[in-house]
């Protein structure tokens, strides 16, 4: 069976190369049949990759340990869903997943657009073929999932903390996001190569970008939730390079989503959009490079592997390609109109973009800093958490404010007078909230109270927009369904605000206390009194579970168990924290058992109180709803696109 997998990958590689070469020639020489043939090759490469994926998936489910990959990442005790999730658990499998998603997305995007924008699509095929060639080459020649061995009796197993529904969903979702950014990139490159640099490529890829961006964002929240619940250090984001690797392309894609609106309406920022989409794509490939190469120290990093160099070469080559393309077509990217006023919606979109890209680049600098210092000074220096926290506040808080102001400013220009008039009510709400919060004790953290106040401001502006709109159209449903992109966007803004409130609450406020408790001893933290009722130990087929039993009184009453598990196969320990959500006070009581002594019943606990942390997860749901509204298909728009962009046949 492994031979079939290998063969399928070789076929996929061959087809990708053909799509690249024949597609480029067909597009360049305006040869329809050759271009169609290349396009079919792209479709077939998806089929071949699907076959290879099916081979790996079946090997995983069948526990076929003659596959080295299967033996490395699963064992007989794994249930089918977790055995399947090992597909993307290792380097080779995750590369295969990347290629599968790339060819799948590529096939769908080119198929849907096969009658529209023929000249542009003719160039999209070779670009996608080029990307596919790289990944297929890696899978065939450098990092194959189909290496075989004499089958051992049992495999190495999957680490217990990864046997978790979140970890099953998190990587594929991220990949659907990362790889999804290749589509707008390919269409942008296609626009530049074909010389058709008007807005049509943006209109054609609008939904793709939104879908990829949504998956990437939601996937990150899934990862954060898993870290909070499973890993158990009390946080959800550590500014780890691998976490940043997903955040950076997401920030670039957010900027891109906003600036294309300007290009569609005003014909401005054409060069900027090309740069942004290339940046988002390069960052997503760079992210894979950072994760897989072991070049930076990370709690996530896999072993140092050989693919690092290849990925770096690919990033360098594709960046050079993008830069050359943009510079070559610069004359075609002249703006149609000019920015008229610093106080206009175009300008606020520009500020928003600048802040997002600034944040993205500062994170990139922080991630690359160890590598840069190593090259320049011969000594590796790492940048810590305070750097990232500072810039998140420096750029994030103004961004939050802009989210509220932007929708209320008119296009082209607004007078200060008009702006003040529109903002009067939200500003009043904000001031009242700020004062109330200060009285409630939120003044203990300046960034925290600022974040809260800005959030109140944005929520007030969103409510204002909805109220005004409903009053004008008569029904909220009508309003939203007739303007899905705009109001879907507002719902997404609301989600970001909830996210901001949740992050501010759980990081700027609350408590973090460590205590040693003997049997019967109590500790009081922020309104909760915890009493040590002893340490228990029990053995299950999978692990030895050690728990400290603590009785809780005060703001929440009950008993909690916190501790760790020592698993048997693979023999690894895992933290098992206790999290109790106090919905009335909107906070989480989070207890980690640092050290447990079953014989003496002594326990070292770390008690954290995390206010408003659950808003972060709620924000994820609201985010999906908002995206869904914005993505909701519009029959009229579709008809118009088709009749407009498809050439008629005689």
């Amino acid at each position: 069976m492994a031979e079939l997998g290998r063969a399928a990958l070789v076929v996929s590689l061959g087809l990708s190369v053909y799509a690249l070469v024949a597609g480029a020639i067909g597009a360049r020489q305006n040869r329809r049949r050759l271009a169609d043939s290349a396009r079919n090759a792209l479709f077939c490469s998806f089929g071949a990759t699907l076959v290879a994926s099916a081979v790996l998936a079946s090997a995983l489910v069948r526990h076929d340990f003659s596959f080295v990959y299967v033996a490395q990442h699963t064992d007989r005790s794994l249930s089918t869903p977790y055995a399947l999730s090992a597909f993307w658990g290792g380097q080779e499998g995750s590369l295969l997943l990347w290629l599968l998603v790339l060819t799948g997305y590529g096939t769908l995007a080119v198929f849907v657009n096969r009658r529209l924008l023929r000249d542009l699509t003719a160039w999209v095929v070779p670009v996608l073929g080029g990307i596919g060639t790289f990944f297929a080459f890696m899978l065939v020649a450098v990092s194959s999932p189909f290496n075989t061995q004499t089958a051992p009796l049992d495999g190495a197993g999957l680490v217990a903390s990864l046997q978790n529904p979140y970890m099953v969903a998190h990587p594929p979702m991220l990949y659907l996001g990362y790889v999804g950014l290749s589509i707008p990139f390919a269409f942008a490159a296609g626009a530049l190569l074909s010389g058709k640099t008007d807005e049509r490529w943006i209109v054609a890829t609008r939904r793709w970008t939104l879908v990829a961006w949504t998956f990437l964002g939601f996937g990150q929240l899934l990862g954060a939730h898993w870290a909070y619940v499973e890993v158990g250090w009390g946080g959800y984001y550590a500014w780890d390079p691998v976490e940043n690797a997903a955040l950076m392309p997401w920030l670039a894609a957010t900027a891109f989503l906003h600036s294309v609106m300007i290009q569609e309406r005003k014909g401005m920022l054409k060069v900027w959009n090309m740069v942004l989409v290339a940046l988002a794509f390069e960052l997503s490939v760079l992210g894979t490079f950072l994760t897989r190469s072991g070049v930076v120290n990370s709690i996530h990093s896999f072993a140092k592997s050989s693919i690092g160099g290849w990925f770096l070469a690919f990033v360098v080559i594709s960046t050079l390609f993008s830069v050359t393309l943009i510079l070559w077509r610069l004359p075609l990217l002249k703006a149609r109109t000019k920015l008229e006023s610093a106080l206009s919606r175009e300008a606020t979109f520009l500020y928003n973009n600048l802040l997002l890209v600034a944040l993205c680049l500062t994170i990139l600098w922080g991630v690359l800093f160890p590598i840069v210092t190593q090259l320049v000074k011969g000594e590796t220096r790492t940048i810590g958490r305070p750097y990232y926290d500072f810039f998140l506040r420096a750029f994030g808080l103004p961004l939050l404010l802009l989210m509220g102001i932007g929708p209320l400013i008119a296009w082209r220009k607004t007078s200060v007078r008009a702006l003040v008039r529109t903002l009067a009510w939200p500003i009043a709400v904000t001031v009242v909230c700020g004062i109330a919060l200060a009285f409630a004790g939120a003044g203990s953290s300046k960034p925290g109270i600022i974040a809260y106040s800005f959030s109140a401001f944005v929520l007030a502006t969103i409510v204002l927009e909805l109220v005004r709109g409903t009053r004008a159209t008569g029904s909220l449903f009508q309003l939203v369904s007739r303007n899905r992109r705009r109001y879907g966007g507002y719902v997404v803004h609301a989600a970001i605000v909830l996210l901001a409130i949740g992050i501010a609450g759980s990081s700027a406020y609350g408590a973090n206390v460590e205590r040693r408790l003997t049997l019967g001893q109590s500790a009081t933290v922020d309104g909760y009194t915890l009493t040590n009722r002893g340490v228990t130990q029990r053995t299950t087929p999978r692990a030895t579970e050690t728990r400290a039993v603590l009785a809780v009184r005060g703001d929440w009453k009950g008993t909690i168990e916190t501790g760790s598990n020592q698993f048997f196969n693979p023999p690894e320990p895992a933290q098992e924290v206790a999290i109790k959500t106090n919905w009335w006070r909107a906070e989480d009581l989070y207890v980690i058992a640092d050290e447990l002594h079953p014989k003496t019943n002594v326990v070292y606990v770390q008690v954290l109180v995390k206010p408003l942390v659950n808003l972060i997860w709620i924000a994820g749901i609201v985010f999906l709803i908002g995206s869904g509204i914005a993505l909701w298909p519009d029959a009229r728009e579709q008809r118009r696109l088709v009749t407009r962009l498809a050439p008629a046949r005689a």
Binding site: M1, A8, L15, N30, R33, A41, R265, A410, T422, A472
Partner: protein, 164 residues
């Protein structure tokens, strides 16, 4: 290698070859092997249509923002004129292009069907319905910024369209 694997592998290889060769097999001696890209004339019309849609969309958005109170009456008065003129200009340009007709275009093997290119003059966002703006679609409107409509502000707010 199992029998299934062999069959699947063979089917994959054969299928790939067939699909890749299909465009050549289907059409060995084509009349026209060029990509179906729009010709210069079609491009021109497309560009005009897109310009018209953009102008109408901007106008509709302005109306909506005015109606919801985001833009004050005086600002509206200042902004609506140029937008209306722009919309009128694009409608005119499109009309002229249409009237010029196929005779003005280079002969092509594939003729462009006019209605297909036109499509619907629908704004990107249905902020305000077609009948609710002061500019009726597909009509040439050319009026000074301050006109009789401004006097009937209350009439405007109730969403009564006035076709000229």
């Amino acid at each position: 290698m199992t029998a299934i694997a062999l069959i699947v592998g063979a089917a994959l290889a054969v299928g790939a070859v067939v699909l890749v060769a299909l465009p050549f097999l289907r059409d060995p001696a084509p009349v026209d092997d060029r990509l179906d890209a729009p010709g210069a004339a079609e491009e021109r019309r497309l560009a005009l249509v897109e310009e018209r849609d953009r102008a109408l969309a901007a106008l509709k958005e302005l109306e909506f923002d005015h109606r919801t109170g985001k833009i004050a009456d005086d600002d509206y008065g200042e902004l609506v004129g140029p937008l209306r003129q722009e919309a009128a200009r694009t409608l005119r340009a499109l009309d002229e292009e249409r009237r010029a007709g196929p005779s003005a275009h280079e002969p092509k093997v594939r003729q462009v069907a006019v209605p297909a290119v036109e499509g619907e003059a629908v704004a990107d966002e249905e902020l305000v319905g077609d009948g609710e703006t002061d500019v009726a679609d597909r009509q040439v409107v050319d009026e000074p910024p301050i006109g009789p409509l401004e006097e009937g502000r209350d009439v405007q707010r109730r969403g009564v369209a006035e076709a000229k």
